[in-house]
């Protein structure tokens, strides 16, 4: 079996019924997708399979044979964040961060499908994703902002402005 993950082709050695999540995390060591429940209940393992959001913990890798997979690592890099990633940073939509990669990919699929900033539609799109830190309002705000095509001045929230370590004593 072969899958393409974030543009890179991989020959897969795991058995055909191995969950795609385990192939990504254990065989390929791509750890952005998270194992929150291993039973399709939390959404933390969500990746895009040929553009569609899928629970990778429930999907046998055989069903993804030949597919193009996008994980959070494929959305953007710290130096070049995708718009949805920028929106999450700007709106503080990640708290502990464990649900974030699944949330981001479900949101990306929603935006790719022409999703608007309607909060109810966003909630529907992210409906199966659990954030136990309960930061839902900020997540919906971030997706709505990205749907409106807003751009953000992340220098306001970039590390450094208020967190510079000085040795000249506290101010």
């Amino acid at each position: 079996m072969n899958i393409v993950v974030n543009g890179t082709a991989h020959a897969i050695e795991s058995g055909p019924l191995t969950p795609l999540l385990d192939v990504l995390r254990e065989e390929l060591e791509i750890t952005g997708p998270k194992a929150g429940c291993h039973q399709g209940g939390c959404g933390a393992c969500t990746v895009l399979v040929d553009g569609e959001p899928r629970r990778s913990c429930l999907l046998p890798v055989a069903y993804a044979d030949g597919a193009e997979i996008t994980t959070v690592e494929g959305l953007g890099t710290p130096e070049s964040l995708a718009p949805i990633q920028q929106a999450f940073v700007h709106h503080y939509a990640a708290q502990c961060g464990f649900c974030t990669s699944g949330m981001l990919l479900a949101a990306q699929a929603y935006l790719d499908g022409g999703g608007t900033d309607d909060p109810e539609a966003i909630q529907e799109a992210l409906g199966g994703h659990v954030c136990r830190c309960t930061g839902y309002a900020k997540i919906v705000d971030a997706v709505a902002a990205a749907a409106r095509g807003e751009s953000f001045d992340l220098t306001q929230t970039a590390v450094g402005k208020y967190t510079t370590v000085t040795t000249g004593g506290a101010t």
Binding site: E29, T31, G32, K34, A35, G36, C37, H38, Q39, G41, C42, A44, T71, V72, E73, L75, G76, T77, P78, L81, Q85, F88, V89, Y92, A94, C96, G97, F98, C99, T100, S101, L104, V130, C131, R132, C133, Q156, T157, A158, V159, G160, K161, Y162, T163
Partner: protein, 456 residues
């Protein structure tokens, strides 16, 4: 102020949205083994047979541990404060809750470790289980804990957290109405998306590197060192990245057992709990049983309160005495009641040990107190906002444990809520401040009891 009201960066924000944050389960090292636990299938039982040899003989199994492998078997979460320990790291003679760990296996894969656990030969003699604090608090109930059914080690050897203030008997004599209520919030599972997980790497210099999802890194350091009987400088804990905790990762759940496996195998070992283990075996917020009786005047002054709290500690004490102490300090909520009689017990049951969760010990009593305030308003047909303002903490009032309030916020808070909800307050309550009480703001009964209010 540089920070209040400012947009400040999250130091981990960009890492979170790019998948670069390294959680414990994302750490991989060469030669890593996987751990699985044999857990009690019973709420309460004696262990009559335990033979781990069939597990150890399975090819690919590198270590099996039981209580015999633990240098210091019992070390309590409050041992550092001089409180005796009650919980064995691994069950020895008996099990006191369903899911209690008895033995662990480290093997080449999680599947193999699980198969080895299945091979362990174990037999139990089941005992009666107590799953509710009221059952356990019954003097006739079977004893399920070596200390009896409630914690006996409060200061001075007391078996309860006790508060006495003023003259409760007199308050109840003077009351127009006694308003009673029983409040029983249930257990809550923290349910962090990241289950309990730990990776321990034995280093060539004899130290252990422990990758931990703990919320209490230095606390875990002390607990692991105590059980292992090694100095702190033999342990390096790598922490600070927690995929949700909410209090459930304060107790040291995995680090010590995984360290023992890694030492015995001489290999790195990772132990990650399944979602089922997280739900069934991890600690929870405690269930509580609270009984309140208030001596109240017909115009809404609360003259006195009697309260009994039973805090369900689960099978072992852990931090529960600390949680109950906080609870007792807050048992009048944001209000001042001059005469108090509080008795709180940390009661043992055969449930999973309970622990911290957001507002440890206080959320339960806040729920009870606020519900009770509204109940008093209902009984007396008074405005629920105004009864709160009448009894609100004011400058110079004292908390149940004798702290003098210098800037209490009850009055402005209730007024702000009334404004936000469009609730019309009468003029005297709308203009009320939290300045020290004067005669006008003391019920006649209390003026008589306390003397000149200016000296109160």
């Amino acid at each position: 102020m540089k920070v209040v009201g400012a947009r400040i960066p999250r130091y981990d924000g960009v890492a979170h949205v790019t998948g670069r944050t390294t959680y414990v389960d994302d750490v991989r090292v060469p030669g890593m083994l996987w751990a699985k636990a044999l857990r009690s299938p019973h709420h309460h039982a004696a262990i009559t047979k335990l033979d781990t040899r069939p597990a150890a003989e399975l090819p690919g199994v590198h270590a099996v541990i039981t209580w015999e492998d633990v240098p210091l078997l019992e070390y309590g979460h409050l041992s550092a404060l001089g409180i005796p320990a009650d919980e064995p790291l691994l069950a020895k003679d008996d099990v006191r809750y369903k899911g209690q760990p008895i033995a662990l296996v480290a093997a080449e894969s999680e599947e193999l470790a699980a198969e080895a656990v299945e091979r362990i030969e174990i037999e139990f003699e089941e005992r009666p289980a107590l799953l509710d604090v009221r059952q356990a608090f019954d003097p006739e109930a079977p004893k399920i804990h070596q200390w009896g059914n409630w914690y006996p080690h409060f200061e001075g050897g007391m078996d309860r957290r006790q508060i006495r203030k003023g003259d409760v008997a007199k308050a109840f004599e003077q009351a127009d109405v006694i308003v009673q209520g029983v409040y029983r919030p249930a257990a809550i599972e923290h349910a962090p998306l990241e289950t309990q997980v730990c990776l321990v790497v034995p280093e060539p210099n004899g130290r252990l590197t422990i990758y931990s999802c703990t919320q209490a890194l230095y606390f875990s350091l002390g607990v692991v060192a105590a059980h292992l009987q090694v100095p702190l400088n033999k342990l390096k804990i790598v922490g600070g990245t927690t995929g949700g905790g909410f209090g459930g990762k304060v107790d040291t759940a995995t680090e010590t057992m995984t360290s023992l496996l890694a030492m015995k195998a001489g290999r790195p070992v990772k132990w990650r709990w399944t979602r089922e283990e997280e739900f069934l075996c991890s600690s929870t917020r405690a269930p509580w049983h609270m009984e309140i009786a208030d001596a109240v005047t017909k115009d809404g002054w609360i003259l006195g309160r009697k309260m009994l709290t039973l805090h369900d500690s689960g099978a072992y004490a852990r931090f529960s005495p600390y949680g109950l102490t906080k609870h007792s300090f807050h048992h009048t909520g944001a209000y001042t009641i001059p005469n108090l009689e509080f008795d709180g017990y940390v009661v043992f049951t055969n449930r999973v040990p309970t622990t911290a969760m957001r507002g440890f010990g206080v959320t339960s009593v806040s729920f009870a107190v606020e519900t009770h305030m509204s109940r008093i308003a209902d009984v007396l047909d008074l405005d629920p906002y105004e009864i709160r303002l009448r009894n609100a903490n004011r400058i110079g009032d004292t908390s149940p444990n004798g702290i003098v309030y210098t800037d209490p916020s009850t009055v402005p808070t209730i007024q702000a809520i009334a404004e936000a909800t469009g609730h019309e307050l009468s003029a005297e309550f709308r203009t009320m401040t939290n300045e020290p009480r004067t005669g006008e703001w003391l019920p006649e009964h209390l003026v008589a009891q306390l003397g000149n209010p200016e000296e109160h």
